[in-house]
């Protein structure tokens, strides 16, 4: 059935198409230019990203190096779950973290039912959306993004880009070197639903809380400013 359907569909589509060749089509597409993106909420890229993370009902923290990132993670999970355990994907960047310094006990692999906290190391972040971008795969199993109660995501400030067009440019640079990722996930907040009377509820299926740690040389004032701007 699918073969004859395929032939029929292709033939009807061909009849209704312009019949241009690939080079013409590529030139036409290029001539359409670039889509306008949403304006950032302020002039600074870091602050803009943090504002949007907070507006997306996320929480955020800064860490200037890996030790600080580990300490920030440790404090956060202890405060929320009274534990030092978490699950992280087999990401070499996460494996190289000085976990013992802060007493964190990571388990590397996919989250199992009953484990509340997962940690991902995002490949990119997008200021326009206040989103982190993870690639599904060994370094970041899908379950870790989706099944935890609380999803913590670290991202390097060098990997923060302004908008989605810039994100795709970076993803293309990555896929020139690596295999095309199985999944590219833009995550912008905890799981939510407004399906009952339009009321926004968090933790519909996936994480109820979403915490972003921005790593690198980011002035502490960026987070303070973001909090003051994003505060309702």
């Amino acid at each position: 059935m699918t073969d004859s359907s395929r032939a029929g569909i292709f033939s009807r589509v061909r009849q209704a198409s312009a019949g241009a060749d690939s080079a013409e089509i590529a030139a036409q597409l290029r001539s359409l230019g670039r889509a306008p993106a949403a304006a950032l909420p302020c002039a600074d890229l870091y602050t803009s990203f943090l504002i949007n993370v907070l507006k997306n009902h996320g929480t955020a923290d800064l860490a200037s190096n890996r030790s600080e990132a580990v300490t920030a993670t440790s404090k956060y999970i202890y405060q929320h779950y009274n534990t030092h355990r978490l699950v992280a994907g087999n990401d070499p960047r996460l494996a190289a973290m000085p976990w013992r310094e802060a007493g964190v006990l990571p388990r590397f692999g996919a989250l199992e039912p009953g484990e509340p906290v997962s940690l991902s190391y995002a490949r990119l972040a997008v200021a326009e959306l206040g989103a982190v971008v993870t690639f599904t795969g060994k370094a970041n199993p899908a379950a870790n993004n989706l099944l935890a109660e609380n999803h913590i995501v670290m991202v390097d400030c060098m990997d923060l880009v302004v908008d989605m067009e810039a994100a795709w440019e970076r993803i293309r640079q990555i896929t020139d070197q690596e295999q095309r990722p199985r999944g590219v996930n833009f995550i912008a907040g905890p799981s939510s639903t407004a399906d009952i009377e339009g009321k926004q509820i968090y933790g519909a299926h996936g994480p109820r809380q979403w915490h972003v740690i921005l790593l690198g040389d980011v002035p502490a004032t960026a987070l303070q400013e973001a909090r003051s701007i994003a505060a309702p």
């Binding site: 292709f10 589509v13 241009a20 889509a35 993106a37 060994k138 795709w168 996936g206």
Partner: protein, 471 residues
Amino acid sequence: MEQHSDTFLENASKALGNKAQADIRDLLGLFTPLLRNAAVDNFEHFEALRHHVKRVRQHSLDNLDHYLATYEQQALKNGNRVHFANSGDDLNSIVLDICQQHNAQRIAKGKSMITEETGLNDFLQRANLDVMETDLGEYIIQQAGETPSHIVGPALHKSADEVRQLFLQKHDLGERELDNTEDIVGEARQILREHFLKAQVGIIGANALVAEDGYSMLVTNEGNGDLCANLPPVLIICTSVERILPRAEDATAMLRLLVRSATGQSQTCYTSFYSGPRREQDVDGPLETHIVLLDNRRTEILASDYREMLQCIRCGACLNHCPIYNSVGGHAYGSVYMGPMGSVLTPLLSSLEESNALPNACTSCGRCAEVCPAEIPLPDLLRDLRHQETVEKITAPRWRIGLKLHTWLARNPRLYHWLTGVGIHLLHLAGRKRGSFRKLPLAGGWTSQRDFPTPQGKTFMQQYRAQRKQS
């Protein structure tokens, strides 16, 4: 879903009689446009974005042969199996075949308009498969045995209390009362989590397909689509041929329009691009992925004057802004597609005979075209369908005679003005004492809901001329 657009007028009358439901619709009709407008106003270059995406979509449709072939090639390269379905029945059979090949019993389904269109759930359930909708809104209506009332918020016609009652009836809750919306959502989360973990097949739709890399994009706030796509060992993506866009950035540009127009958000929680099955070192993800591309008359629409309708991004803004949709609600349309977009699409996907009332469910107010992010001239397309109805003699004879008479009169303005003048004068004489009419011949529908005020005696043109003479 089973279509019953042929009874639109009866469905609409029934809906108008349900006061509680009408109140919910009034409220939604007020606040959904406000959310959309605020989000659009916040985006500085919304018009430029709208225009850009329209041109990209037009370009994609103009060159669909090229992009469809490229998409197929890339999707295959990513390790997917690609199927083509001429009709809804074909799609249903392909999906059932895949499920049966894997001896699958439990199916977890994400929100998908295409599978609503083909009636996949019923089809699979008739083959004794346990199909569970996992989008909260879809889950609620599935439990209630209803159909969606809105393309974005399928259960928005239900109050929180109705959902609570439904869960009390259907779920084993023990002592739990589900006193608030958080508890209701928590209950669904628990039930559906179990289903996700045990499902053997996940079925989702796609908001866009990307030709350059064979990815499919899915946008959700709940994350249920991602769970369907990643937890079960087999994934089936059911979508249609016109969803193809050239590049990934075209899909995310469209997303900017979609989220603002649909829910007034500036982004959704999860925007995911799937390439194919799990890789050797992956610890989770589907072992097998299938993409089923549905035509169901879309290639006919592509070759017709209604081609622009294929640019619809299913945002629901035209529904939220439509006075008819807000009065009668989504169920009255008797189709998976409703409101202005449904009134165009349903006749094109089924037949004009079956759904001839839908193109007439329009006041020509133009709000839908104003807000449509895909710049689809919906009122024009509806008018063209009405014209086609008249040409094909589908319109009821009395309407056709009436229209003919009106056309003839409009071409004879003197006679027209004289006749309307006489009519207004007679109405004035007849109703002057009471001030209004309870009943009027040929206007029974109008007077069934309210009285008709007695005209003051002169037509607009008569008054206009008199005033001009005076000045």
